[in-house]
Every structure is written in C-alpha cells, then in structure tokens.
Symmetry: C2
Subunit: 228 residues, 2 copies
C-alpha cells in the first residue's frame, strides 16, 4: 500500500492553501514579470486573468488567501505584487540546491534557464559514478554521493532535486534526508517515501502529456464514443 506522500494539502480546509492556488501564484508571477519587462506599472484582476484564461473573480479569490494587494481605482502595482508573491512562495530568499544524478536529465536541469530566472541556484551536483566526480558542469561542481552531508552543511543547502533512475530513487532520497535536506523534488517516475517533516514534490512528466491528450481528445471524441 502506498504511503501518503507528504504533498501540499489539496483539500479545501481553511487551514491549508490548496495546491492549485499555489500553482496559480506561480503563473500570476510569470505574467507580472512579463508586464514589468514591458514597462507596465499596474494591472487588474481582469487583465491578469485574461492573460491566463482565468476569471477576474478567480484571481481575486486566489490572492485573498494571502492578504489584500490591490488599490481602489488603481488595481495592482506590478512590482509590489511580484515582491508579495515571491515572499509567499519563498523565492524572495536564497535556496541553494543540490542536484542528485548527472545523467541526461541531470545535465538538462543544470542547463535549465527557468530555475535561475526564478532565483533558484543549483550549487552542487552529486553522482555515484567516480568518473563524473570532480567535473564542473554548467559551472556546478560534481561531488561523490558520500560527500552529501558535508557539502550540504558547508553550502547551507536546504532543497534537493532527484534526477536519478527510478530504481535508485528511494536510496538517493534516504541519503539526502540523512544529510539534513528539508525538501525534495523528485523527477524519478517512482513513488518514494520520506519522513513527514521533509517536504516532497513529485514531478510526473506523463501528467503533462495526459493534460495534452485530454485537451486534444475531448475536442475530437473517437467515433465509437459518440453514442455514450
């Protein structure tokens, strides 16, 4: 039986923010950053919503979980709302990150510009292959897996990204937890179990493809489905 996975609470209880709301905060942040790049100083829930296909009511409701951000007659000040959302998401501070596993995925993640754009910085990579240890990839030094506790401590690392094969995922997770990591982003297509005080977000790339097949399929039902 699978264990509960320490996910962000997705129920609608008053004490927890639904996971979907947190995801939407990231989307609002991206659009506000685009607006700022286009030198737009203020925006409205209507504009923000229409850029993303949400209603203005949805935008206001999502932001209301965290406080009051708009001004009557003005709307939202883009730079203020960017700072507020970054504070909420925790990306206003520095999160030195460890990347575990330097295969194709690990190398791709070391070169992924999207992390740096949001202030995330991978400061150390780890691999069990002695051939890779000592290399510097995209400016990031590669250490042996057994050096995790010491490097995590010396660099103040709090989050780890697991980019190892599924078969190695639980062992790698146990190692990063033992080294004092507080949160794990797991790319392995595999359920892993962590102590409940360590946060886990699992990335299942097939879910993204399922969103796409749903969108295409629901527009083009199979002929044999038409009678259902």
């Amino acid at each position: 039986m699978a264990e509960p996975k320490g996910k962000i609470d997705d129920t609608n209880s008053e004490s927890a923010v639904p996971k979907a709301v947190v995801s939407r905060l990231s989307l609002y942040l991206r659009e506000l950053q685009h607006l700022l790049r286009d030198s737009q100083e203020t925006t409205s829930s209507t504009q923000l919503g229409s850029m993303l296909g949400f209603t203005d009511a949805q935008v206001r409701k999502d932001l209301a979980y965290f406080g009051q951000f708009g001004y009557p007659g003005i709307g939202y000040r883009c730079d203020e709302l960017v700072h507020a959302i970054k504070r909420i998401l925790g990306t206003d501070r520095d999160w030195p990150i460890a990347l575990v596993g330097i295969g194709n995925l690990g190398r791709a993640l070391l070169g992924y510009r999207g992390f740096g754009e949001q202030g995330f910085r991978v400061v150390a990579a780890f691999d069990s292959d002695p051939q890779k240890v000592g290399a510097v990839i995209e400016g990031v030094p590669v250490y042996a897996a057994e050096d995790l506790p010491q490097v995590v401590k010396s660099k103040g690392i709090r989050l780890a990204i697991l980019a190892v094969p599924a078969i190695a995922a639980q062992a790698a997770a146990d190692q990063v937890v033992q080294s004092g990591i507080e949160g794990v982003l797991n790319f392995a297509p595999m359920t892993i179990t962590l102590p409940k005080e360590v946060r886990l977000v699992g990335v299942d790339l097939a879910i993204e493809l399922e969103q796409l097949s749903f969108a295409v399929a629901s527009r083009n039902p199979k002929p044999c489905d038409e009678s259902i």
Copy 2:
C-alpha cells in the same frame, strides 16, 4: 503583451472541466494502478483520497464531472475506474508522439519510463543538427527537422514534445504546427504562441520548485516575517 496561451480552461464555468480536476484524474489513475498491482479489486473515495491527501468529498466531486462510477456497498471497481479515467484522459488510444530537440533534455525524455507506462510512445525524434540525423536513440529514429511534415503524416503523429532551447522554441512550434500536429507540450522556459485550434501545455519546471519552496518556507517563516 502576452497572448492567451490556449491552456485548458481553469475557470469554474460549468462548460469546462477545471485544469486542477484533470491533474487529479492523473493522480487517481496512478494510485488505482498501484492498487491493481497489489491485487486489490475495489476501493473507496476515502481510501483513494487518503492515499493522496485529499478528502473523500473531493474525490467524489472530481469524478462526478465525468459520470457515475461507484457501486453502493462496494465502492469503485479498480479496473473499471482505471479504464474510465483512461478513456476520459484519452490515454485509452494510441498517441504516436514526435520529440523535437535531441539535447540533454530530449535524450532524457526519450529514456523516460513514465511516458511508456501511461501508453505514450515517442515514434520519431527531430533535430536540426545533421550530425544527429540518422541515429537511433532508445529505439527512436532521429530525422532532420525538414522531414517533419512527411514523417508526421506517414506515422500518424498528433502530438509533439518541444525540447529545444528557449531561443528556438517559437520556430520549432511553427514547424510542428505546419506539419499538422494537434497538440504541443513545450518544455522551453519561454512563452510560445500557437493557432487557437492547436492545444498547448507548457511545462515550467520552476513551478515545481516553487511548490517546494512554498511548502518549506511556509513551515519555516523567516524571523523578520513573524511580525507580519
């Protein structure tokens, strides 16, 4: 100004299924597949919910968008619900997929077991580098980008995954659209614009890290935040 991005509707209008519900269908599907592997024949909204940290009411409400699946006194039959969810997500049929871009990310995606487990099959890869054309990686042949229209037609490809650098993303998107692709999964950290009849799902891996930093930060507020 950014264009609306052709996302799955995330508003709560009655005509559209919220995107969050579609994501949760994928999670229910994974758990049901685990239960079937453990030879469990039936389950309940309570069990399904508790495995994922959702309430039983949430599970019932999500499934009710698509029909009536439970039996009084029995609950859900796991294999029936798996088939029903796959039909809804469109993964009960074959979706031959094109992968565009054979860098580290493209290679990682060709080897990603999670796609195959959900029935997705990458049948052709494309790259603009003549050195890579003609290779076979993880059993998938690599073609020149200009062969897209002909290969898409001959292999019946309907979905494309873009794993190209941000700077090349819009041009690659235009090429796959011209070749007749109906849906695009974009990994480039870059907003792309497609004709509205083509479905687009953007993967922003920094969003996953933001979920994690939110989860860790909201448990450990910065000392200076405590007075807010």
